[in-house]
Symmetry: C2
Subunit: 425 residues, 2 copies
């Protein structure tokens, strides 16, 4: 089996290293000798994390996808431009393709999978979601007896690292972000990570595999963590919650909701204890109940583990074809964001005078919102009270209307902060 | 596809119920209509948890395994006598077999798998380990690029329920065991659960799949939780640990160690937060690093979820053949229990007089054992000091010799309690 790799950076180098160090095990499991024969790189003279003595290097990636000696192409270069052209060409040339490229699959997956089906080859992407955690295979095979009701995942390690540091060390967002960048966890432009775009790509993939519907990246609502303050983190802790940046996919009445946003979850939940750069995905099936999958969401060898697992599945022909079966299903319409029901955390800064809490709760009552928990912090030097409230389960539109009304009052000193709460029970 | 079930109790009934309620999803995923046509039961007139209108019931299980219309047999009756004969007969008749029977596989798996190979059929048993958690598929496929270094699992829900109650409510072992029996978690004879035999069956299976060696149930060393006292639980908490009943499989220098025993693990570990009847398995691969799989370890529909996942894999022919590949490997010899290196927790009851701790630490020092942490509780009415010690990593034989020496001293008032500690880092 001859393998051609597009991109020999962190992930590509990791694949070569793992194939080398675990050769005996992988040969036994796959029944074949797997050899990386060709690799396309941007600069042929650059230093690499893996040996390249037995690999024919080229700066022409089309030379790889058009090479008749190559059976399987690994697209590990990233991006949605050139990478897409190369994947298309490889598929048209009858080659199986494995990719770790979440953006490519989330945005162009429907057409690429259709193309793969037409050309009778596989397009696999276990490594695109939650790195080394075999979450897609678990959804496709391990949980194949279930209707999935909920997927909730910590699927961006950078964001989880930042929130963990904020909680455990009382640090500010900006301060931790700088450290994450210095450690190499976050890119120079951290937008993809902290604003939830990377997580949204992954969630679109998780949702489609979980519910058996087409990829709907445009229907993922996305909110980042850059607006989470130290005060929110402290209030959450006091109320018995941890703030995590979750990707949540739910199917209710055949409507799919997919959303990435900061979320308060009870401290006792396993997900609340997934810290640092680690990833975890909670999957609730209607037969199995809640299950959870935890591991490294990034890193050279962890990601390589998922890429090679796909490789072995192709070689042994143990690929679950379900992934090509979703076209038989009608698309599930997306749930309108306004219609999503959720529990909410609200943080208010209000002048401390008699009747303020009564006014707020009266507005809540008029929208059928009840207060499940409230914490009020000591008055600050400007005579303002810092108040955090946990509501009951309520429609988003109702919540927004109530907050708009509260916001109009003179005693409210800044924008009311709204964060979702999920009990995950 | 015609399915025959042996046993229509909790798991068998659950399988029928899940196949019924998720029929559309399962048909889409498997590409076939799956119908349970026949079932063998002990008493044809007994009440059942599932509808049986479309199922031909019989009290003759051999009628099922010898029936030419049946393609796949589900052995869900349990036991290692009749169940073994039936599985053998089904395999010889060219039928695929799926079982949830951990004892059958742990004890007779090598010969049954050999027989299945000779007859060109599958024998699958995802449901035999950790109920609904797809842990065997994850080891076989999701982690196929890895050499597995460690498996550590909470794989008996009854034991975990008991230990959780003891820790959270300060209750005694006997008290909680009685409640577990009343709740139906524990059998009238709780030996299999609390003495670790059930976990040992599962660990033997996990070890062989993880390391690619034959089943070695006889090499699993097993210690139950019935000797864990409330004092141990309290000391563990004070030292920053949780006591869990773990099944641990390690491969070090090509020797396999498999052991089931109570274990102190640091509270911050995810496994320490797996509570109640839930199961979880930590798997450390040399590429992916630590991963964890969590879910219900028992229950009708959770177990059915795993049985049906195997069923769909057979129907779609996406079974990982690795399970039949292990014969290519020489058996890994078992590690001698005396040679196992571990950190230990020791609890001593000693007369409170000057020099006691000095005497104890002197004995430790003579065996190259160092004290990493020590807690001493207030003197009781008999002038005895309650002492808990955490050691460094040390050979089991060395630890046992040191404890034997300590035990000889007049100031020691009862047998020194020894419990393993695993940092799982």
């Amino acid at each position: 089996m001859n393998i051609g790799i597009l991109g020999l950076g962190t992930v590509g180098g990791g694949v070569v290293n793992v194939l080398t160090k675990n050769q005996a095990e992988i040969t036994r499991r796959s029944g074949k000798n797997i050899t990386v024969t060709h690799a396309a790189v941007r600069d042929i003279n650059q230093d690499r994390i893996c040996p390249t003595d037995d690999i024919s290097l080229t700066q022409d990636p089309f030379g790889i996808v058009n090479n008749n000696e190559i059976d399987i192409v690994l697209e590990l270069m990233g991006g949605t431009g050139l990478a897409k052209d190369l994947v298309e060409q490889a598929i048209k040339n009858g080659k199986h393709v494995i990719t770790a490229n979440k953006a490519l699959i989330a945005i162009h997956g429907n057409e690429l999978l259709e193309l793969a089906k037409d050309n009778n080859v596989y397009l696999l992407f276990e490594a695109a979601v939650a790195g080394g955690i075999p979450i897609l295979k678990s959804l496709e095979q391990g949980l194949s007896a279930n209707q999935v009701e909920l997927v909730a995942g910590i699927i961006n390690g950078t964001g989880n690292f930042i929130l963990t540091e904020m909680r455990d060390k009382g640090r500010d967002f900006d301060d931790v972000l700088k450290e994450a960048q210095a450690l190499g966890y976050a890119e120079a432009d951290p937008t993809f990570d902290v604003e939830g775009i990377d997580a949204a790509h992954k969630l679109a993939i998780l949702g489609s595999i979980a519910f058996g519907c087409k990829l709907q990246f445009d229907n993922v609502s996305t909110e980042g963590i850059s607006q989470i303050s130290g005060e929110d983190v402290a209030f959450a802790t006091e109320l018995g919650y941890s703030i995590k940046h979750l990707g949540i996919a739910k199917k209710i009445d055949n409507k799919v909701q997919m959303r990435v946003h900061p979320t308060l979850i009870p401290k006792a939940r396993l997900l609340a204890n997934v810290d640092g750069v680690m990833n975890a995905v909670l999957v609730k099936g209607n037969a199995v109940g809640p299950t959870l999958y935890y591991g490294a969401g990034a890193g050279d060898e962890a990601t390589a583990s998922a890429v090679i697992a796909d490789l072995i599945d192709i070689i042994k022909d143990t690929v679950s074809h379900d992934i090509l079966g979703w076209q038989n299903f009608e698309d599930y319409p997306a749930c309108d964001t306004d219609d999503i029901e959720s529990i909410f955390y609200l943080r208010l800064l209000a002048t401390d005078k008699p009747g303020v809490l009564a006014d707020i709760t009266a507005i809540f009552a008029s929208h059928s919102i009840s207060v499940e928990a409230v914490v009020q912090k000591q008055i600050d030097s400007k005579n303002n009270a810092h108040i955090a409230i946990i509501t009951n389960m309520i429609k988003t539109s109702e919540m927004n209307e109530a907050v708009a009304e509260i916001q109009k009052n003179d005693f409210i000193q800044e924008d009311v902060k709204i964060i979702h709460v999920e009990t995950l029970d």
